[in-house]
Symmetry: C2
Subunit: 382 residues, 2 copies
């Protein structure tokens, strides 16, 4: 009884005393939007004075107008029979873009926040946190002697890493333009996918390193001494060879500070878009470093002026003769980089370079990159 | 030239092809609001059709109306001569509460998101990421035999931990009601404060463990198999002795998996509000475990029905005779728990229990808890 009355007093105090001076969410149990029931998803927005509301979503080609629901005057939209997947959206309320005020689940993609939700089923179950052993996700700083300052990467160590003393293979997983060391784990759900696939016995337990490919950044926006800056989609020095040619120092740091196997048969590198470009040149220039290479929607032609980008025919030949186990290329049919990748395949075909090609639906977007990761991981270190 | 034209093509492609099917922020460099210039802060919201906009902020007692600026028709408010600090706010646009659409920097407090910014200077410089060596922040799961499932904590290891082989003292830092294992590092800026104070030589390098005090949760909302649920401010089983009496298994896990000193002179426990309550009872029931105790705005009277909460006079006596180095109590003058803490001090005074008391301005809010942490850390392990 005493405990109950204390809590009542505490709650009342929060309403009357705390909320009067502090903006915490307090007593309110946040309602959650959207409502996901099986494959039907309802969006509800309480904006009584708005004149028009649009739903802008990554599964629809264009924003759709929401309508007022008579029963409660809320803005309403329903999507039926959605495919399984992780989806993101925003609202546009009379011209102002906002995330859903009824959800706390947002992700940043480049310079904008989005609300996200998951429709369960099929491969999307890999994106949901299941009751399986969970690995550890850490933000790790290393001193970059090439850049002259400390930089940050994200690192996943599989469940059991801390308790044991065995060594692990390592995947280096690279983000795209406008991304950073947070992208693969947040937007890409990398640690969730790894936990689930490792627990299912489909993927070898491995360490996954997610570096920051913008050498002008020490870390993601808000995570370095730059402060709370605006996001620059096109950071300088991302495709000029600086990052790629200094990549060995990241591998050295990981090999020195984590329990890794230190040969090509236990190292993979993969990346999306600009990260595919980075993976393409890094793997070709370090033929004995990586036995597994993944190019996800790679922006192959973004080449700058650096020796790292020259003599690719002979470098790829050396790579193919170095004991390469897997060269995996994936792209969506609607991707604006489709023809670039087609040219790359033609070049590889001409020289007899061995690779696996995966063509998916849709385009240059995270739903494909999560899917590619899910398909690529089981092929590694086998 | 080739590179420039590629980027132009890439950017144009994003606008025309990608953004047509995908909702990424893309080319736009997000403008940042608010504009912080020294101690003056300008808030700007582009909501051309709104009829009224309020700014609700944690440094003002009540929401204030914003006004339309003639030059660009944006909603505008200016705060001048703000004290240094980290601040949070939301807008209310015609009745709908939103975070600032012109900032990507948000924090979740219980069940709501807030935009945050920092006014530099004085102690607030400790909340800003400086060019100092950075520790590692990890999400670590452990098997709770008491609860029968794996649970998550956040752990900070100081810069140099991975490279060396020395042992470190450990601070256990506990959140309040409605919080979880993410609260101290996100809202509390714990790792930033630690990095800065350790680099300045004011604080001993230490490990900081931030557990989840809601035993009904495996991890924070969105980080467990519960899925993307609404936040429950008053989680069950938070003050019934289950968490407190099983706290030793967290200490055991940390001592087994991290390089720690394993005696009371190298262990501290501190918490805010409900976490102060937890720290009060845990330290008293384990008198040889923690040599340093911090109660920040503690909710001492939230006691449930468990033997852990009984015989506190004799337990506190045992604690004071166990070689306790510091017992630190802090509260703000406007805190609704002020009188509870006054009662506690009276009880401690009567029995001659040694403690240090810190009374601050303001109330039950994060600006005080960040400040208390900043003041408490330098007193530890000396």
């Amino acid at each position: 009884m005493k405990r109950v009355s204390f809590f009542v007093a505490l709650l009342v105090s929060f309403v009357t005393a705390v909320c009067a001076q502090q903006n915490i969410g307090g007593v309110d149990v946040a309602t959650i939007s959207p409502h996901v029931v099986d494959n039907d998803v309802e969006f509800l927005l309480d904006a009584p004075h708005a004149e028009s509301v649009l739903l802008r979503a990554d599964w629809m080609p264009a924003p759709v107008p929401m309508s007022r629901r008579q029963s409660d005057n809320k803005w309403y939209y329903k999507c039926e029979d959605m495919h399984p997947g992780l989806y993101t959206y925003t609202y546009n309320v009379d011209g102002t873009t906002i995330i859903d005020p009824s959800s706390i689940y947002s992700m940043r993609d480049v310079g904008q926040l989005f609300t996200y939700f998951i429709v369960a089923g099929d491969y999307a179950d890999n994106y949901m946190i299941q009751d399986v052993p969970h690995g550890t996700v850490s933000t790790q700083w290393y001193d970059s002697s090439a850049m002259g300052y400390a930089r940050r990467f994200t690192i996943y160590t599989p469940a059991g890493y801390e308790a044991g003393n065995r060594s692990y293979p390592v995947l280096y997983l690279l983000h795209g333009m406008g991304g950073d060391e947070t992208a693969w784990n947040e937007l890409g759900r990398a640690s969730v996918i790894l936990d689930n696939l490792i627990a299912a016995g489909k993927v070898e337990p491995m360490i996954v390193v997610m570096p920051n490919g913008n050498v002008a950044q020490k870390a993601a926006p808000g995570a370095s001494s730059r402060g709370l800056v605006a996001v620059n989609f096109n950071e300088p020095r991302t495709c000029n060879g600086e990052y790629e040619s200094a990549f060995g120092e990241i591998v050295d740091f990981v090999d020195t500070h984590y329990r890794t196997y230190r040969d090509a048969s236990h190292r993979a590198i993969a990346g999306l878009s600009m990260g595919g470009y980075h993976s393409y040149y890094i793997s070709a220039n370090m033929p004995s470093m990586f036995g597994y290479v993944g190019l996800f929607s790679p922006a192959i032609n973004a080449r700058g002026n650096h020796s790292f980008y020259n003599d690719m025919d002979s470098k790829l030949l050396a790579l193919s003769e170095s004991g390469l186990s897997l060269y995996w290329i994936a792209i969506g049919r609607d991707d604006f980089l489709y023809n670039e990748v087609k040219e790359l395949r033609n070049r590889l075909d001409k020289s007899g370079f061995p690779y696996v090609y995966r063509e998916s639906t849709l385009g240059h977007q995270w739903c494909n990159w999560r899917l590619y990761l899910t398909e690529f991981l089981p092929l590694l270190f086998k």
